[in-house]
Structure formats: structure tokens, C-alpha cells
């Protein structure tokens, strides 16, 4: 009896300590974000127009996270000590939650009173009157303090309530609320996109009010997302079943026909563009204007090719609408299915000998077929979307996409060095810079060499030179690993920048002035100026890099890297020449980065040494880590998150590094494997693998596929 009572008292003390600690942390974080100016900056925008501002949302989120973390801690302690009944537990939790909320809000309240009394602006420049107005809700200080405390209690209560909701309901709530918040955060970019011609004006007016998402829109979106989330678990099954049906009814080699379908659609598009500008050509029935839309999405690039961009702005302005995308996709499917049927008939008659009747298919072949169908489906849909993105989004978002692409390309290169070969390279910017500078030197007529080569003539030279640089850099560090290698490569990156900046090379590289007048990339008479055109180049090169990365990963070279990364010494005893493979990794990584640099140079038209600072390397490395080291999907997602988000969220860009750092720490703590963990990619085994493995063991194969 006595001991258990003793324990409970001990318990309470423990709990209180925990609450106080996490509460104090959360309170300090609140003050921190206020003092660095984040709250004020964010407050210029509302999440929901006239209801809640972004700055307040930030504070509310911090407070809520604080209470939720505390209660989770508390639950762990309760588990350890085995609290009595459930009812009492709930009560305790409520108390703990409210208490934490109160601590956080009182810290904030003290802070408010403090900056109200004492002007700390000489030290903390952001502790401005505006901040005070935000934190006091424009009331006098006593009401404000009271309000804050009440708010803390309410938030603590909400936090507890939230944690005690059934899991499903919680998920729905999170999904609904976070999508409204995300919409609010992205309101700028959404406004830019939707105010372009072609998008229905009503949509914009409905979604965005004066200074944030409109109240009605947030309710509608909340409900929509909740509905989608609740039916979400059934979607994969539905998708699976559809694909199964497609695979059964068209159990022929789908891949070829799907590609041909895509090709035919594209060709029709191109023909249509040529035909409208050249009156001598007849309009094919399939190309009739009413049928294939007046505005183009997929064929935008084609008209660009044909018309040499004379009325591009015009075209660009009216070539975008969501309806357009829908029409393009339906058109794709229509044209596709026609060509598809023709091809399937042809195919079947050609390959009479091999029966594709599903009844004769083994389960393995059947699964393979479904996998293939799915893949082809996503390839076709994905390429349709990829090709029409710049037209759908407009110039500024395309610019962002291009920047994402440049980093993605560099990321693919770095991924070979870091992800595949396991060599921590912090100076990848050097190769990016060498690529950019070599391009500039070779193509700019104003460069010292006065060569004025075309981009395409220069590119192979650029790639080779940068590849050699990679090997050159790698040679002295062959014996190094891990931290040492990281520091040395970091040094190399900086050395590269200083060399470009130096007086020594000034006659050739222009010192701080850099190299100007780098001509844009062109094919024939078509010039790739402006993000919506460079986008296609980036896509092209990114796809090539992706393809190379995928192929090399599964190749002999990839396996050698994998072994080397795991255990260099043992890799050697397998007969792997680690020197060769290290040099190869650096060389290839450098080559891919050089393409990125080359496009970067032509995109800007001018390059300075200052564009190539260590931050570029850090960003490239961070995006690999965030995405999941050694993982190509991870590189793509990492680039989208780390490069795309800061550019889209105007308010965030100032705090970019802070957010990077926080994100990296949180990632390391919660998901050390990255956003897309490796195991996911392992389950996406290729059909060839499936068949190859058939000799191994039958039962394991099916379990593998179904995952």
C-alpha cells in the first residue's frame, strides 16, 4: 500500500517535470520564432482570409505540438508505472495537456509583457511594435495576457482531445486541416497560376479571398479532403483491379503499343501545329480544330519548333486551362486506344504461335503483366503531365521547375558519388561550376577563347573535361573515407570558386565579372529562351540522367559500388578494383553535374564565381539525404521539397537555411532512411527479376509481388 502510494507521488512529480520541460521548450521556440522575425513575416498573410493569419497558425502549431508531445511522454510514463484505471488516466492527461498549454502560453505572455515594458530592439531587431500587436491581438496588455493564458488552456484541451480521438478520425482531421494550411501557404503561387488566361476566373475568386483562402473555400476543401482521405484506402485496390482487368483483356505486349500510342498522339499534335500555320497542308480528320483543341498543351513545344517563337507570348497566354489538360488526356486515351486496337490485332496475328490467352498464363506471368500494365499506364500519364506542366502553370512556376530540375540533375550526379559509391562529397558544386564555366568559355563569343561554339558542339567537351576534373579531384583522396573525405572535398569546392575568382585566371575566366553573353541553347533556328522552354531541356537531360542512374545501379558497376560502400576491404577480396570504381564514381558524378552547370550557364546567360558557393553543394547533399540516400525517387522528391518549396513560399525563403537545418535534424531523428526509404524501392522489383528468380523458390515470389 505504502509503496504504491509513494510511487504515485513520485509519478506525479515526474509527470510535472516532463510537462514543464517540454512546455518550456515549446515556449522558448515560440519566442525564438518571434524574435527571428518569422511570426511577423508570416503574419503578412492569412491562412484563412480575415480569420487566422499565418503567424498565428505557426504559434498555434508549436503550442499544439508541445502539448501533444507532452501527453505522449506522459503516456509512456504511465505505461511504465501502470496507472490505475482508464477514467483517471483521461483526467490526468487532460490536466497534463492543459497544464502544458498554460506553461507555453504563460511564457509567451511573460515575453509579451516584457517587450511591452522594455524595448529590446537594439538587440533583437525583430521585437517590433508590429510583433507586439500580433501577439496581443491589438488589445491592451492585460486583456492580451489573459487572452493568451485562456488560449493556452484551450489549446491544451484541444491537444488532449485530439490525441484521444480514434486514429481514423485523427487522420481525417490532420489531412483536412493540413490541406487548408498548405493551400493558405501556397496562395501566392496559386493566385499567379489561376490568374493566367485560360483558367476559369471563378476558381480563383472562389479559392482566394483578399488575403488568404476564403472561408467557404476552406470549408469546402476541408470536406473534400476528408472525403478523399476516407475513401483513400480503397483507391489502391480499385486501381489494382482496373489494371488487372486491362491486363486480362489485353494480354499482349502492352509496352510497345502504349509507347506507340504516345508517339502517335505526339505526332498528331506536331502535325496539327504545322498544319495551322501552313495553309497548304490538309487538316487530317483527327486533327480537326474542334477535336484537337485550339489551345495546345502537349504540342506547345512543337509550335515553338515550327514558328520560331514569333508570337510565343500570345500563344503562351491562351494555351492553358485545366479543361485543356483534360481534353489532352482524353484525346491521348482516344487516339491511343485506336492505335492500340490496331496494333493488338496486328500483334496477335503476327504471333499466333504464342498464345496470350490468360487461362494459359501462369500466376507469375499474370503478375508480371499487371506490373507492366501499371508501369506503362504511369509512363503515359506521367509524360502527358510532364509535357504540359509549363503551359498549365505559366512562366514563374516554370522557372521554379527549371531550378528544381537543375538541382535534380546535380542531385543525380551527386547520388552516384554519395549514394551509390558511398563517398561523402561536399564539394560537388566544383563540378557544377566547371561545367558552367567550360560551357561559357566554349560558347560565348565574348569569352577569352572567342570560340562561340554551339551548345551541342560544346556539350561533349564540357562533359569530358568535367569528368576528367572529377577524376583529378578524386585521385588524391582515394585513401580517404567518411569525414576526412567530406572535409577535403569541401575544400576542393571552395578552391574551385577561388580559382574562378582569382586574378590568376582573370584573363580567361573574367574574375569577379565572370563570363557574359552566353548564348541560349538552340536547335536549328529555335532558341531555348525562358523557363517554359528550358524546362523541356531539363526534362530531357534529367530523364537521361535518371535512365543512366537506374541502369548503372543494377549493373555490374552498380554492384561493385554497393559492395565498396558496404565494406571496401571485402570488396577488394571479391576482386573489385576499388581505385577504378572510385574514380569512375567521381567521374560520372562530375559529368552529370556538368550538364546541370551547362544548362545553368545558358539559362542565365552570364556566370559569376559567386553563384557557385558551398551552399549549392550543401543543398544538393541535403536533397539526397532528405529524399533517402542512394534512392532516385528520393532525389526527385528531395529536389521538389528543398528547392521547390522555398521558392514557392515567399515567406519561407528568408528562413530557408533554418528550415533546412530543422528539417535535416528532424529527418535524422524520425526517418534516418529519408523520405523514401530504401525498402520501398526494393519491393519495386522488375519483371525480369521476377522471372529470373523463378528458379529460386516459388512461394517467395508471390509474396514479393503482392507487397
Amino acid at each position: 500500500m505504502n509503496t504504491s502510494e509513494h510511487k504515485t507521488i513520485n509519478n506525479i512529480q515526474q509527470d510535472l517535470l516532463k510537462c514543464i520541460r517540454i512546455g518550456v521548450y515549446a515556449g522558448i521556440i515560440c519566442i525564438f520564432v518571434a524574435l527571428i522575425g518569422m511570426v511577423e513575416k508570416f503574419n503578412s498573410r492569412d491562412i484563412i482570409s480575415e480569420v487566422i493569419s499565418m503567424g498565428h497558425t505557426l504559434l498555434v502549431i508549436i503550442t499544439l505540438s508541445g502539448t501533444i508531445l507532452t501527453i505522449q511522454q506522459f503516456r509512456q510514463i504511465s505505461l511504465e508505472y501502470k496507472h490505475s484505471s482508464n477514467g483517471i488516466n483521461y483526467l490526468w492527461e487532460l490536466l497534463v495537456g492543459i497544464f502544458t498549454g498554460l506553461i507555453i502560453s504563460s511564457i509567451l505572455a511573460i515575453f509579451v509583457v516584457f517587450i511591452n515594458e522594455i524595448d529590446i530592439r537594439p538587440i533583437f531587431i525583430n521585437a517590433s511594435p508590429t510583433l507586439l500587436t500580433i501577439l496581443t491581438f491589438d488589445k491592451d496588455i492585460y486583456t492580451a495576457t489573459m487572452n493568451l493564458l485562456v488560449l493556452g488552456v484551450v489549446l491544451g484541451f484541444i491537444g488532449t482531445l485530439f490525441l484521444n480521438l480514434p486514429g481514423k478520425l485523427r487522420l481525417l482531421l490532420i489531412a483536412g486541416i493540413s490541406s487548408v494550411i498548405i493551400l493558405g501557404m501556397f496562395q501566392d503561387i496559386i493566385t499567379i497560376i489561376l490568374s493566367k488566361d485560360g483558367w476559369p476566373k471563378i476558381l480563383l475568386n472562389f479559392l482566394i479571398d483578399k488575403n488568404g483562402v476564403s472561408v467557404t473555400a476552406s470549408i469546402v476543401i476541408f470536406i473534400l479532403i476528408v472525403i478523399t482521405t476516407s475513401i483513400y484506402p480503397y483507391l489502391p485496390t480499385a486501381y489494382e483491379n482496373t489494371m488487372r482487368l486491362v491486363a486480362i483483356y489485353h494480354s499482349i505486349n502492352l509496352r510497345i503499343s502504349m509507347y506507340i500510342m504516345l508517339a502517335i498522339t505526339l505526332l498528331l499534335r506536331i502535325y496539327w501545329f504545322i498544319a495551322i500555320s501552313d495553309k497548304n497542308l490538309p487538316m487530317l480528320p483527327l486533327c480537326r480544330e474542334g477535336y484537337i483543341t485550339t489551345n495546345a498543351t502537349l504540342g506547345q513545344c512543337a509550335i515553338v519548333v515550327y514558328n520560331q517563337f514569333n508570337n510565343v507570348t500570345n500563344l503562351f497566354a491562351n494555351s492553358t486551362s485545366i479543361i485543356n489538360l483534360i481534353i489532352t488526356i482524353s484525346e491521348l486515351i482516344l487516339v491511343g486506344s485506336i492505335s492500340y486496337s490496331i496494333i493488338s490485332i496486328l500483334w496477335k496475328s503476327l504471333r499466333k504461335t504464342k498464345s496470350y490467352n490468360t487461362n494459359n498464363l501462369s500466376e507469375l506471368e499474370h503478375q508480371t503483366l499487371i506490373i507492366k500494365t501499371k508501369r506503362n499506364f504511369s509512363i503515359v500519364m506521367g509524360s502527358a503531365l510532364l509535357l504540359s506542366l509549363p503551359m498549365l502553370l505559366g512562366v514563374f512556376p516554370s522557372e521554379v521547375l527549371v531550378n528544381i530540375g537543375i538541382y535534380m540533375l546535380m542531385g543525380f550526379g551527386l547520388n552516384i558519388v554519395v549514394g551509390n559509391a558511398g563517398l561523402l562529397d561536399l564539394g560537388h558544386v566544383a563540378f557544377f561550376a566547371v561545367g558552367a564555366y567550360t560551357t561559357a568559355l566554349l560558347t560565348s563569343p565574348r569569352a577569352s577563347l572567342e570560340l562561340g561554339l554551339s551548345f551541342w558542339a560544346a556539350l561533349p567537351i564540357v562533359i569530358v573535361i568535367t569528368g576528367l576534373t572529377g577524376i583529378l579531384v578524386a585521385t588524391p583522396v582515394l585513401r580517404m573515407r567518411g569525414d576526412y573525405l567530406a572535409i577535403v572535398t569541401l575544400g576542393f569546392g571552395e578552391i574551385a570558386r577561388f580559382l574562378f575568382l582569382s586574378d590568376w585566371f582573370k584573363p580567361w575566366l573574367g574574375g569577379a565579372q565572370g563570363i557574359i553573353k552566353i548564348p541560349p541553347i538552340s536547335i536549328g533556328s529555335i532558341e531555348f529562351i525562358g523557363p517554359h522552354r528550358i524546362y523541356y531541356l531539363i526534362i530531357l537531360f534529367a530523364l537521361i540522367a535518371l535512365f543512366i542512374s537506374v541502369r548503372i545501379k543494377d549493373s555490374r558497376v552498380g554492384r561493385a559500388w554497393m559492395a565498396m560502400k558496404a565494406d571496401e576491404k571485402v570488396a577488394e577480396t571479391m576482386g573489385i578494383n576499388t581505385v577504378y570504381y572510385k574514380l569512375l564514381a567521381f567521374g560520372m558524378g562530375a559529368m552529370i553535374a556538368s550538364i546541370s552547370g551547362a544548362i545553368f550557364a545558358t539559362k542565365l546567360g552570364t556566370i559569376f564565381p559567386h553563384s557557385f558557393n558551398v551552399l549549392v553543394s550543401i543543398t544538393a547533399l541535403s536533397l539526397i539525404i532528405v529524399g533517402g540516400i542512394g534512392n532516385l525517387t528520393g532525389v526527385i522528391i528531395g529536389a521538389l521539397v528543398l528547392v521547390g518549396l522555398p521558392e514557392l513560399l515567399r515567406e519561407f525563403s528568408e528562413f530557408r537555411l533554418l528550415i533546412y537545418g530543422t528539417l535535416l535534424i528532424v529527418m535524422m531523428l524520425l526517418r534516418p532512411e529519408g523520405l523514401v526509404p530504401k525498402s520501398n524501392t526494393n519491393t519495386m522489383i522488375k519483371d525480369q527479376d521476377l522471372i529470373q528468380d523463378a528458379w529460386v523458390e516459388n512461394s517467395t515470389i508471390y509474396s514479393h509481388v503482392k507487397r
Binding site: A566, A571, T573, M574, E697, H704
Partner: protein, 241 residues
């Protein structure tokens, strides 16, 4: 016994780690088709001897003759090409790769896909435990299974000479017996084996010839049978008082 040819000869090897000399004038002969074992206490230089043979450590003086060719100073890759394969100390399998991938790594230098596949099946017959675990990650297996994988991996390069560093280390007695049985089997199929062991009793029971190393120098060498009965041996290593 005398009719077997020497496949590997170490001649007066002196090996150093930096300034520290570890092997002193070590000379050994390994005969083709035999099991030769290298015994000795901790830190006597056994692993160093294997490292020297496999090219990971280049001796300062002395020569290594393999099949009549001087291979001193050649890289590990070249050694593997010539048919010297190694089962490293502590197994060191690729823990994040599956069993199958580990085996494939073993055959890295080989191009003959069909034969690799046949060999893999052979390995799975030799080590039935691996067969059930082909898709399992190497790191998630027990010590004994990892040892088998390490051996199978080394064999995948079709070595003529297999070097093994303490294959019985850290295994349960049952596993130790199994491992030694398999070593004998591998040897009977024609692979010459040079094995470092602490478990002198077991090692000598399957070996043909043995060397004893003490602080980097060979102090005893004889046929396994005679070593087993050597009084000094019995006192020092075979646990008899």
C-alpha cells in the same frame, strides 16, 4: 603425400604495419589439394599472413610465389583473378545485401552467367541453410549462417586456393563441427585450403599440414598428425597440461 605440388610459397616474408614489424622471415609452403592450417596465439600475425597473401598488405621483404609465378606486391584484384579467394576474419558479409546478392558479389570477376548460376545452385546444395534464406538480408542471419555465406561467397569465384581466417570464431560447437565438415568437403572437391585457426584441435583433425606462428615467426611446422602428438603443441595449444 609427397607427390603433391606446392601451389603457394612464402619466402622469408617480413611484413610491417608502419614501423611495427609483424611477420619475421616467414616461409611456408602450401601444397596443392591439401588443407594447411596456421595456428598460433592472439596477435601472433596469423591474419597478417593471410592479408599478405591476398595482397592487402605488401611485404617489405620476401617473395610470394603462386603456381610458379612471383605475385609479390600484386593488388587484391589480381590475386582474385588468379584464383586466390579469401573468407575474411569475422565473416564480413554484406549485411545490407540479400544472401543471393552476396553470392553474386562473390562471382564479381566472372562473366559466364550460366556457370555462375550453376555454381550458385551448387552452393545452395552445399549449404542448404542458405537456400531457405536467399532473399533474407545477410545482416539478419545468425553467426553460423553468416560464416556459411562468407564461405559460399568466397567459393563463388571458383578459387584454386581458399584462404580462411578463423572460420570457427564465435560459433556454437554444433556449428563449428558443421563448418569443419564443409571445409573438408570443399577440399575434397579440389580446392586447396589455407586456414587460420585458434581451435587447434579441430583444425589439425582435418588438416594435412600445419604451421605454428609465434610473435610473427614460424616456430613449428609439421604434418597435422605429428603436430597433434607434439608435446610442445599439446601443452601450448591443445589445452593439455
Amino acid at each position: 603425400m609427397n607427390n603433391s605440388q606446392p601451389i603457394l610459397k612464402l619466402e622469408n616474408i617480413n611484413a610491417f604495419y608502419g614501423q611495427i614489424q609483424v611477420l619475421r622471415e616467414v616461409s611456408m609452403t602450401i601444397n596443392e589439394g591439401q588443407i594447411t592450417c596456421l595456428l598460433g596465439g592472439n596477435a601472433s600475425g596469423k591474419s597478417t599472413t593471410l592479408r599478405t597473401i591476398s595482397g592487402m598488405l605488401i611485404p617489405k621483404h620476401g617473395r610470394i610465389i603462386y603456381q610458379g609465378e612471383d605475385i609479390t606486391g600484386m593488388s587484391t584484384t589480381k590475386m582474385v583473378e588468379r584464383g586466390i579467394s579469401m573468407v575474411p576474419e569475422n565473416r564480413r558479409i554484406f549485411s545490407r545485401m540479400t544472401v543471393k546478392e552476396n553470392l553474386e558479389m562473390g562471382a564479381f570477376l566472372r562473366q559466364d552467367k550460366q556457370n555462375i548460376r550453376n555454381d550458385m545452385e551448387k552452393m545452395l546444395d552445399l549449404f542448404p541453410r542458405l537456400k531457405e534464406r536467399l532473399k533474407q538480408l545477410g545482416g539478419t542471419m545468425s553467426g553460423g549462417e553468416q560464416q556459411m555465406l562468407a564461405m559460399a561467397r568466397a567459393l563463388m569465384s571458383r578459387p584454386t586456393l581458399l584462404l580462411m581466417d578463423e572460420p570457427s570464431m564465435g560459433l556454437s560447437p554444433l556449428f563449428v563441427q558443421q563448418v569443419f565438415k564443409i571445409i573438408e568437403e570443399i577440399n575434397q572437391q579440389g580446392t586447396t585450403i589455407f586456414m587460420v585457426e585458434q581451435n587447434a584441435n579441430m583444425a589439425l583433425s582435418i588438416a594435412d599440414y600445419g604451421y605454428v606462428l609465434q610473435t610473427g615467426a614460424v616456430v613449428l611446422k609439421d604434418t597435422a598428425h605429428r603436430l597433434q602428438n607434439n608435446s610442445m603443441m599439446r601443452q601450448a595449444y591443445l589445452g593439455e597440461t
